[in-house]
């Protein structure tokens, strides 16, 4: 159970103060946000209340309150992010986790039939056959080794193995390679309609919040309205957009942008590119050229190449990741549109096969709906109910 405790601790934030803040945020969210199911939040609140800080709560209330306003503006405490994940993944959770619970309820014993059902569940999350097989093989082994007979302890094991497959022993894989005190160039790539431009807007907002000087390059000179779209985001966030007219050479736009960024001593330059299907050879060549132009100007750049990936995409995402990686040496993935019912399970397969980590997830259409990816939280979002139930049970005992 140590895994669960560790996870819970991490997810719910460490310090007392933070926890208090969470309480307030929970209450706030409950009031303002009636769309999201609040049962879960209530449960969390009560659970936290049960802990021994109840008395301290009142004492610290005032302090917290004064800090709250500031914090809620800029801070992303561990808890609030988890809540974001949870609310973003609510739909995912409801369909997926309730199924896991169904599964556990239906099968008292861990047998072949149970594994088959589990496989089906994961396949429906777009995880893909190979990774699912690998996972269930590991589970089978574990179950045999630990001699697990009934299904009660299995959810924890499932999420543990999922995280294991994802992390592969590496830590801090979501950190962006930011050049402190120097220009950092981030290049966005991806197929059409995955949300590159929107994500760039959100990311620019994020950097801006951190007090960074940000510049955007309108490298999508192909799609109608793409430059305007980025400009709107630039205005919204309050950052400058370097652009040329529609139909101009994207490499030239980005070259200009690098020059401008250097001159202005900007901290971060984010380059948009036109969406392209990975099997269009000439368009991929164009992308290679853009990459080359950036590297020629700044040898260590682009410091990050982020592939935007639609969470609704199925197995083709694997091909996308591979071919974009070949062309531009993709360093990370931004998983967009995770606030729908799609699970984006293919990122597990991508990580497993191509070792590209997910760096951010898009959980909505608001400016701050972009969050760093956390594999434990991701899996937690998928299995939240199940894990909470288990914890409650073990605490009772």
């Amino acid at each position: 159970m140590s895994f669960l405790k560790r996870m819970k601790e991490k997810l719910m934030g460490g310090t007392k103060l933070e926890q208090e803040e969470l309480l307030d945020e929970v209450v706030e969210e409950e009031i303002t946000d009636e769309q999201h199911p609040t049962e879960k939040l209530v449960e969390d609140t009560t659970e936290d209340n049960l802990t021994d800080e109840e008395l301290e709560v009142e004492v610290q209330q005032e302090v917290v309150e004064s800090e709250k306003k500031e914090k809620s503006k800029r801070g992303f405490s561990a808890f609030s992010i988890t809540e974001k994940f949870k609310s973003g993944l609510t739909k995912t959770r409801q369909s997926f986790t309730s199924k896991v619970n169904d599964l556990v309820a239906r099968y008292r014993h861990v047998d072949e039939e149970f594994f088959e059902e589990l496989e089906d569940l994961l396949l429906q999350a777009d995880v893909g056959i190979e990774t699912v097989m690998e996972l269930t093989d590991k589970l089978r082994f574990e179950v045999q080794r630990k001699n697990i007979k009934d299904t009660a302890g299995i959810q924890a094991l499932i999420s543990e193995k999922l995280v294991e497959i994802y992390e592969q022993g590496e830590k801090d894989i979501t950190e962006l390679n930011i050049q402190e005190g120097d220009l950092t160039v981030i290049l966005f790539v991806g197929v059409n309609g995955v949300g590159k431009t929107t994500t760039i807007g959100k990311l620019a907002h994020r950097f801006k919040q951190q007090g960074k000087d940000v510049l955007l390059a309108a490298g999508d000179t192909f799609r109608a309205g793409a430059i305007d779209q980025l400009q709107v985001w630039g205005d919204r966030v309050g950052v400058e957009v370097i652009k040329q007219s529609e139909g101009s050479d994207p490499a030239a736009v980005i070259y200009d942008a690098i020059r401008a960024a250097k001159k202005r001593k900007a901290d971060i330059l984010i380059c948009d590119t036109a969406g392209r299907l990975q099997n269009k050879v000439n368009l991929m060549k164009e992308l290679e050229k853009i990459h080359r132009v950036i590297s020629r100007e700044i040898p260590s750049a682009p410091h990050e190449v982020l592939l935007a990936l639609d969470a609704t995409t199925g197995q083709n995402a694997l091909q996308q990741a591979q071919i974009f990686k070949e062309a531009t040496n993709v360093t990370g993935i931004v998983l967009t549109k995770l606030d729908g019912t799609a699970k984006g399970g293919i990122v597990l397969a991508i990580r497993n096969k191509l070792h590209i980590p997910v760096k951010f997830v898009g959980l909505g259409e608001q400016m701050d709906d972009l969050q760093p990816f956390d594999s434990e939280r991701y899996v937690y979002g998928l299995f939240a109910d199940a894990i909470d139930e288990q914890l409650a049970k073990t605490e009772d005992e």
């Binding site: 777009d126 799609r223 000439n282 083709n316 091909q319 549109k337 729908g340």
Partner: protein, 451 residues
Amino acid sequence: MAFEGLAERLQGTINKIKGKGKVTEQDVKEMMREVRFALIEADVNLKVVKSFVKKVSERAVGQDVMKSLTPGQQVIKIVKDELTELMGGEQSPIKFATKPPTVIMMVGLQGAGKTTTTGKLANVLRKKYNRKPLLVAADIYRPAAVQQLQTLGKQLSLPVFALGTDISPVEIVRQALEQAKEEHYDVVLIDTAGRLHIDEKLMQELKDIRALKEPDEVFLVVDAMTGQDAVNVAESFDEAVGITGVVLTKLDGDTRGGAALSIRSVTQKPIKFVGMGEKMDALESFHPERMASRILGMGDVMTLIEKAQATVDEEKAKELEEKFKTQTFTLDDFLEQMSQVKKLGPLDEILKMLPGANKIKGLENAKIDDKQIGHIEAIILSMTPAEKTNPEIINASRRKRIAKGSGSSVQEVNRLIKQFEDMKKMMKQMTGMTQKGKKKMKLPGLDSLFK
């Protein structure tokens, strides 16, 4: 990383049962497992896969496969037939209103390609159906969506009705419908904002637009790359606004497009168009047969086989085979073989139909020039019958004559003769092999001709 197609997947099982006189139920079961995997990898929804595999295996166990001498082929055939049937049915074109304007609504998730498809569809309506369409920009949420449609309108020189982003989409559509009536437009194409199917507020907006005037068509625009979630999306949109058809976009990518099958079997709504590129004329009608092959990762072999059967004369083929064996293959036969290949159609199109060919990198850029066949033809036809049967006698002066006669250079004649000799040599080796039992025949040396 490219996934194996069904044929490759079945290969293992087929090899195992090859030696057996009879195919057992267990064998069929194993093959069905492969069918299941192939479909899942093609992103067909798991539930759909299950019911489909059940249906197919019933048919397979029933009779067809077990008695067949080529059970693998038989399974593929059954699977493909069933798939085609499932996706096929009535090929209904656009339903037009008896009294114009016809109203067509485009709905879908964000990034599916609604705006682009709206433009393409307007283009089709004007070119193919000779209608006068009015585009309505009702996406007020995404930044610059209105500009995007306006730009497309400009490219196509079609009118776009837009009221900016401060007026509600329902009001925009209401005014657009009025204007369409006044100015006698035939078709009103409404480009709505992309929305999540679980966003109740925005789904209500679609219902409100729908309530203004019953649309004649509501097209759900779906990305062909969509995975398991396609079913949820299609179901929700159908429940909320009642879709009448589906447009599958980005099919020019290399996805298998199993979503097509999922949506079709869940909603029973026909797939009306497929988006095949970023250009404004890249909207095609849907072919169930081709889609079935694609989902199974088979290329369009069936069409190729049909074509080959229709064009290649079996008698002649046998004769040729005999000549291969007896080493009496002449330049005449070479020419004959060439013209048969030529009858199949443009070579690059044939290549496209081959399974796996789309995986070969760079092939899509390799333009095979049909004119080259013409040149070769001219050279051979400039030879005397003696030269054709006995190319050894072609000396320098003959070469000059042939080059002159065919309007080519001596180098080209040399190259052809060299290739023919190479081919003969290869054939000698190959006939040796076929006698040992290997029967892998292809047109020897053909590829080197096109370098």
